[in-house]
Structure formats: structure tokens, C-alpha cells
């Protein structure tokens, strides 16, 4: 812990700093994913999670394996993937909107089997 603070004082941003940021981003994403009801917000949360992962790739490459490039390339690769994923997801969201007239995640329960109790009624 003391290392972290001592590193701050030297003016070089230590690796832990990046990781803390990415951790915050990741859990912010997770929280958003679990708590938001709008599909668009959930999508944004997923982007946040992915970006947190990207930061980790880059940071680990930069600090732990300075002479290599795999982490950077993987980060680029992930950005491309997430762009595609977003395109697909947006398409799905638009289709959902066309069918249900809203993008609330709660209204997506059509696949669920009707419960036995409601059957009895």
C-alpha cells in the first residue's frame, strides 16, 4: 500500500493506479448491467466492461512485458470486436423496439413458461 503512495509522489503513474481505474470502470459496468432497465444503458455498461478489460491488456503489456506487443494488439482486436458486437446489439434492440414498442429489459419475458399457478387459474 505504501508503495502505491510513494510511487505517486515520484510523478510516475504506477501500474496499480491504472488497475484501480479499470477496476472501478469494470464494476461500474457490472452495476450498470445489473441495475439499468434500459437496453441501451445495458449496452453502454457492457462497453464499459470491455474498455476496462482493454485498459488491463495495455497496462499489463506496458508494465510487465515491455518489449512485446501482444497486449496492445489484443486491445485493438477487442475494440474491433466490441464495435461489431455493438452493431449487432443495436440491431437487436431496434428489433425489440419494433416488436414491443419499448426497450425495457423487464418486458423481455416472452420465452418464459407460464407458471403452474397461473395455469391452475
Amino acid at each position: 500500500m505504501f508503495d502505491v503512495f510513494s510511487n505517486f509522489t515520484t510523478g510516475i503513474i504506477p501500474m496499480e493506479g491504472y488497475i484501480i481505474v479499470s477496476l472501478i470502470m469494470f464494476f461500474a459496468g457490472v452495476y450498470g448491467f445489473l441495475s439499468r432497465k434500459s437496453l441501451l444503458m445495458i449496452l453502454i455498461s457492457i462497453e464499459l466492461i470491455l474498455n476496462a478489460a482493454d485498459i488491463n491488456f495495455v497496462v499489463f503489456n506496458r508494465y510487465l512485458y515491455p518489449g512485446q506487443l501482444e497486449g496492445f494488439f489484443f486491445a485493438l482486436f477487442t475494440i474491433a470486436i466490441s464495435a461489431c458486437e455493438t452493431a449487432v446489439a443495436i440491431a437487436i434492440v431496434i428489433n425489440i423496439y419494433r416488436n414491443l414498442n419499448n426497450v425495457e429489459v423487464d418486458s423481455l419475458n416472452e420465452l418464459q413458461e407460464p407458471s403452474l399457478e397461473s395455469e391452475k387459474k
Binding site: I42, V105, Q112
Partner: protein
């Protein structure tokens, strides 16, 4: 003599083909096929009999020939169930009887059953029955006999219930099946006990008379009787069920609901004598090891004969009269076996019994077919709807009269010879038994002539249309069987069938023959006085013996006793608690399993909300827990 296998295979094939084709062919085609197959079988059977009786007699004794044998199920080294064909005098004699009567019934049915719904089915079942019955008589071992025994039971069930839209027929078929099935339970247990101690099913070994076979069973007793006695008595119960001995006779009168030719074939000539055949087959076992059971058979037979004859005197349904007469005559055969000794003159009862089986099959089939012809003409079973038919149906009348004379025991008709031998044997065994049997023979003559006069003489009933003689296909069997009935008595039966295989020459004992003829003639005269013309005597007798008459016409309330025992005692005190246990304990346990499963699934289902965020939350929690475990442990 492997061609004897064809005798079994042909009817089975015919059953399969007719049963599968059912109504796709024209009825007449099915009838012709069935009859043609049976004709072939009959010719084969006659040929077999000819070959057997001319070649198998080596040095004065008939040898047992095993024409075919194959092992079917092997339990142990010695205990295995075989399927095979055993030819000896009685099985060959039975082959002839069965194929003859069956052929006659097939021909007769072509006309009698003409236009009935299910004509093809009828012929298929007839073939099945013929197959099973032939298989029964040629059985080489007691287990094969049991298998075919059940098969004849099934075919009898199917044929009694042929008119399955009639509730009485359905009830009768059920009754016949259940009663005989209960008796067969005794048979099965008997077989198991016997084979447990003797380690064999084979008739050849069982009846060989070797002491060593039964060595395992000597000295073991149960409730005061040796196990061997139990075994043979239980086997006899099976025979008593099929042969309608008291008190297991109740199914036979009801079985008359089936078509009349079926009654002639199954319930008069062949299947009902299976019990007699069974006892005859195991005769050495009964005679040498359990003579007390054999004597018991004689007394059961004597009682049944009397009982059935008394009932037959007051029945008004002509088929019922014949049914009770059949019971009585089979009981005669049982008495013949029961009083018989072994070999030579002592074996007279055995010979007489099988002789009576032979002649009875012919004349009783004739009587039933004649009754069928009458029913065909007047469309009723009730004697009151008949009367004066002799003018309209001369052939039926004459053949029926011949059969009546034969069963009454008037020489020279066949029944006289065979019945007389039984009476002789009974007198030699025990004069009181002999006298009783003579009295029953008198009763037989009386009720048969009551029936005869009731149908063909007496007051003429007003018919809707004039009764007509039956067509040729029905007359032919009547005439053929009448011929056999006239001449069969002169067959030197002792030269063919005796219980030690040696030849025996029948001598008529003229004292006993004279007495029985006199008794028969007096009974016939009595019947003539009472029933030939309208007279007041029967009514007066009815009034003065009101109690006896009523109970006899109600068949001595045996059916009611059965009803009482089954409904009031067994159903109420045993079946109902068992049903309760089944419903409330066994079913409830199963229901409990189902309910627990359903309940827990309903609860678990709550997790499957269909909400993606819930799932994600669960996944996250799971991931955190796993991460925690990895880090801290």
C-alpha cells in the same frame, strides 16, 4: 412317423392365415380353407391310427412311440420342458376322435353359421381349438400338456364368447375361463409338486412304474396325506375343472351360450373329456402310488353323475339338458377310471372309460348337432317352443333318436357297450356303486327321452313359419355320426386301448347288461307315458315333489353358493381390504413421489425468471464466490 407333426402344424397355419386375413376374403373361402385343412388333418390322423395299430403291436403289447421330440426349456440336467408327439393307444384314439368330430363340426358350421358376422373369426378359432386339443393329447410330458391345456381354455373362452355383443355370452365366457383357470391353478401346483419330487415332467418316466422315480417323495407327508397324494389330487382338480366335475361344473351349462356346433365340439366331445384323458394318462401313478385319490375320483364322479342327471331331468332349455347330460356322462368315465385296476380284466374300468369317451364323443356331438339343427329351424332353445317336429325334420329326428338310444344304453347302439363295461367294472369294485350307476343310467335314459319327446312329439307349438329340414351340409355330419353311433359299439376296443398295452377281449356280462337294458327300457317307457302325449303326470309329480323340482331346476343353488362365497365372503372380506391397501398405501406412495417432485420443481422454477439481469446477477455472484474460494483457500 414324423408326418404326425403335420397334424399339429396344419390347423395352426390355418388359424394364423384365417386370423390374419379376417374379413378380407369372402366368408365361404375361409370356411372352405378351414374345412379342407381339417379334412387333411383327419385323413392324416386316420392314417396314423392305421399305421400305429398295425405296426406298433410288438409281441402282444402296444409300444409307445415318440414321433417327434425337441427340448424347449431346460431347468436342470433332468428337469426340462420338451415339446413332442407321443403316440400310444389313447393318444392315437384321441387323435381320431378329435379330428373326426372337428371335421364334422367344420362341415356343419358351413351351413349353420352361414351369414353370421365374424364367420372367418369363427373358423380361425375352430382351427386354434383343434390345434390346441391335438397338441394336448399328443403331449409327451405333463408340462406340454399344461401349455395346450391352457390353450384349449383360451379357445373355449373365445368361442363361448363368439357372440360378444350378447351380455350373457360374455358373462358365460368369463365364467368358463375363470372357473377352469382356478382349477388349473391346482393343476399347476400339482405339476410343480410332482416334478419337484420326481425330477421329471416326462410321461414315459412317470408312468414307467419304476419305484426309483418316486423314491424322493416317499415318507414325506403334509396334513396327513403323502405329498404324492396331494400332487395327484391337485392334478385331478385341474382335470375336474375342465371336465366339469362337481363342484367345478358350474361353467359348462352357461357355456351353452356359444354357437351350437362349438358346444358339440368343445363342450361335449373333446375339451371336456380332457380331464378324463389326463387321469387316464397318469393312471399308473394314480393306481400304484395314490390309490386313495383314485377312489376319491370314483366317488366324485359318481356323485357328479347323479347330481347332473337329476338336474337334467327338469331343465327346459334343450342345450342345458345336453350340457348336464354331458357332465353326467363324463362323470361316468371318471367312475370307470376310478374303479379300474391294472391290466387284463382288472383294467376293464380303464378300457371302458376310454371306450365310453370314444362313443360318447360321437353320439353327444350328434345330439348337439341335432339340437343345433332344431334350433336352426325354430330359432329357440326352449323346449316349449318345439314339439311335433318329427314331421318336418325327418333326418334330424331319426339321427337324434339313434343318439338318444345310444346314450340310453339300448343295444346294439354304441353307448350300450361302453356304458355296460363301466357298470360291470363299478359292480366289481363295489356293488352299491354299481347299483347307483345303474340307477343313473336309468335317469339318463329318462331325461334323454323326455328331451326327445319334448322336441319331436308332444303338442305342436304354433310356429311363425313352418319348420324346415336343415340343408345338406348340416345333414351330412348328422348322418355320418349316426352311422358311427350305430356301429362303433362293435369295435373290439379292448384290442386297441388297455392300460397295460396288452390285448383284452371284451366279454359282455349278460346279467349286468340285462339289468341295465331293463332299467333303460323301463325309463324310456316312463318317459313315453309322461311326455309322448300331453299328460297330467309331469305336473302332478312337479307338485308333489315341489321342493326337489324347484331346487333341481335352479341347479341345486350351486351358482348361488358360488355367488355368495365370492361376493359376500371373498370380495367383501378379502378383496375390499386389499383394494383399500392398494389405493391408500401403494398408490398413495406413488402419488407422494409425484407430488414431492412437482412441489420441488415448482419451487425451483422460481429461479428461472426469464429475466437476463437476474441471471447475470447469479453469474456474478457465482464468479465472486469462486474467486473468493480461489484466493482465500
Amino acid at each position: 412317423m414324423e408326418y404326425t407333426l403335420l397334424i399339429l402344424i396344419l390347423p395352426l397355419l390355418s388359424f394364423t392365415v384365417l386370423g390374419l386375413v379376417d374379413s378380407k376374403w369372402k366368408p365361404q373361402v375361409a370356411g372352405t380353407i378351414g374345412t379342407a385343412v381339417l379334412a387333411t388333418v383327419a385323413i392324416l390322423a386316420y392314417y396314423t391310427a392305421y399305421v400305429y395299430f398295425t405296426t406298433a403291436n410288438i409281441s402282444g403289447e402296444y409300444q409307445k412311440i415318440i414321433a417327434f421330440q425337441t427340448e424347449w426349456v431346460r431347468f436342470t440336467e433332468h428337469l426340462h420342458i420338451d415339446l413332442g408327439i407321443l403316440l400310444d393307444p389313447i393318444s392315437v384314439m384321441m387323435l381320431v376322435v378329435i379330428s373326426t368330430v372337428s371335421l364334422m363340426v367344420h362341415i356343419y358350421s358351413l351351413s349353420y353359421m352361414h351369414g353370421e358376422k365374424g364367420f372367418e373369426r369363427y373358423y380361425a378359432f375352430l382351427s386354434l381349438f383343434t390345434f390346441s386339443m391335438l397338441g394336448l393329447v399328443v403331449a409327451t410330458n405333463i408340462f406340454q400338456m399344461y401349455i395346450f391345456w391352457e390353450l384349449v381354455g383360451v379357445s373355449s373362452y373365445l368361442l363361448i364368447g363368439f357372440y360378444y355383443t350378447k351380455p350373457e355370452a360374455v358373462a358365460a365366457s368369463k365364467k368358463a375361463f375363470i372357473v377352469t383357470r382356478f382349477a388349473d391353478l391346482g393343476f399347476l401346483i400339482g405339476i410343480l409338486i410332482l416334478s419337484f419330487y420326481t425330477k421329471t415332467f416326462d410321461f414315459g418316466i412317470l408312468t414307467s412304474g419304476q419305484e426309483s422315480v418316486f423314491a424322493g417323495a416317499t415318507g414325506i407327508s403334509f396334513l396327513g396325506f403323502s405329498v404324492l397324494s396331494w400332487a395327484t389330487a391337485l392334478i385331478f382338480i385341474g382335470g375336474a375343472g375342465k371336465s366339469a366335475m362337481f363342484p367345478l361344473h358350474i361353467w359348462l351349462p352357461d357355456a351353452m351360450e356359444g354357437p351350437t356346433p362349438v358346444s358339440a365340439l368343445i363342450h361335449a366331445a373333446t375339451m371336456v373329456v380332457a380331464g378324463v384323458y389326463l387321469v387316464a394318462r397318469l393312471f399308473p401313478v394314480y393306481y400304484f402310488y395314490t390309490p386313495e385319490v383314485l377312489h376319491g375320483i370314483a366317488y366324485v364322479g359318481a356323485f357328479t353323475a347323479l347330481f347332473a342327471a337329476v338336474i337334467a331331468c327338469v331343465q327346459t332349455d334343450i342345450k342345458r339338458v345336453l350340457a348336464f347330460s354331458t357332465i353326467s356322462q363324463i362323470a361316468f368315465m371318471m367312475v370307470g377310471l376310478g374303479v379300474s385296476g391294472m391290466g387284463g380284466h382288472h383294467g376293464l374300468g380303464y378300457m371302458a372309460s376310454l371306450f365310453h369317451l370314444f362313443t360318447h364323443a360321437m353320439f353327444k356331438a350328434l345330439l348337439f348337432l341335432g339340437a343345433g339343427s332344431v334350433i336352426h329351424a325354430v330359432h329357440s332353445n326352449e323346449m316349449s317352443k318345439m314339439g311335433g317336429l318329427r314331421k318336418y325334420m325327418p333326418v334330424t329326428h331319426i339321427t337324434f333318436l339313434i343318439a338318444c338310444l345310444a346314450i340310453a344304453g339300448i343295444p346294439p347302439f354304441s353307448g350300450f357297450f361302453s356304458k355296460d363295461e363301466i357298470l360291470t367294472a363299478a359292480f366289481e369294485f363295489n356293488p352299491i356303486l354299481g347299483a347307483t350307476m345303474s340307477f343313473i343310467a336309468g335317469l339318463t335314459a329318462f331325461y334323454m327321452f323326455r328331451l326327445y319327446y319334448g322336441i319331436f312329439w308332444g303338442k305342436e307349438h304354433k310356429h311363425h313359419h313352418t319348420p324346415h329340414e336343415s340343408p345338406f351340409a348340416m345333414k351330412l355330419p348328422l348322418l355320418f355320426l349316426a352311422l358311427v353311433t350305430i356301429f362303433a359299439g362293435f369295435i373290439p376296443f379292448g384290442e386297441f386301448v388297455t392300460n397295460d398295452g396288452a390285448l383284452y377281449e371284451i366279454h359282455l356280462d349278460w346279467t349286468i347288461a340285462g339289468i341295465s337294458v331293463a332299467v333303460a327300457v323301463i325309463s324310456i317307457l316312463l318317459a313315453t307315458i309322461m311326455y309322448r302325449k300331453e299328460s297330467k303326470i309331469p305336473e302332478k309329480l312337479e307338485v308333489s315333489f315341489a321342493g326337489l323340482h324347484k331346487s333341481a331346476s335352479k341347479r341345486f343353488y350351486i351358482d348361488e353358493v358360488y355367488q355368495f362365497i365370492t361376493k359376500k365372503i371373498i370380495f367383501k372380506n378379502i378383496s375390499t381390504p386389499i383394494a383399500w391397501f392398494d389405493r391408500h398405501v401403494i398408490d398413495a406412495t406413488m402419488d407422494g413421489f409425484a407430488k414431492v417432485t412437482q412441489w420441488s420443481s415448482a419451487r425451483l422454477k422460481g429461479l428461472q425468471t426469464g429475466d437476463v439481469q437476474d441471471y447475470a446477477y447469479t453469474i456474478l455472484l457465482g464468479a465472486l464466490i469462486i474467486a473468493g474460494l480461489v484466493i482465500f483457500i
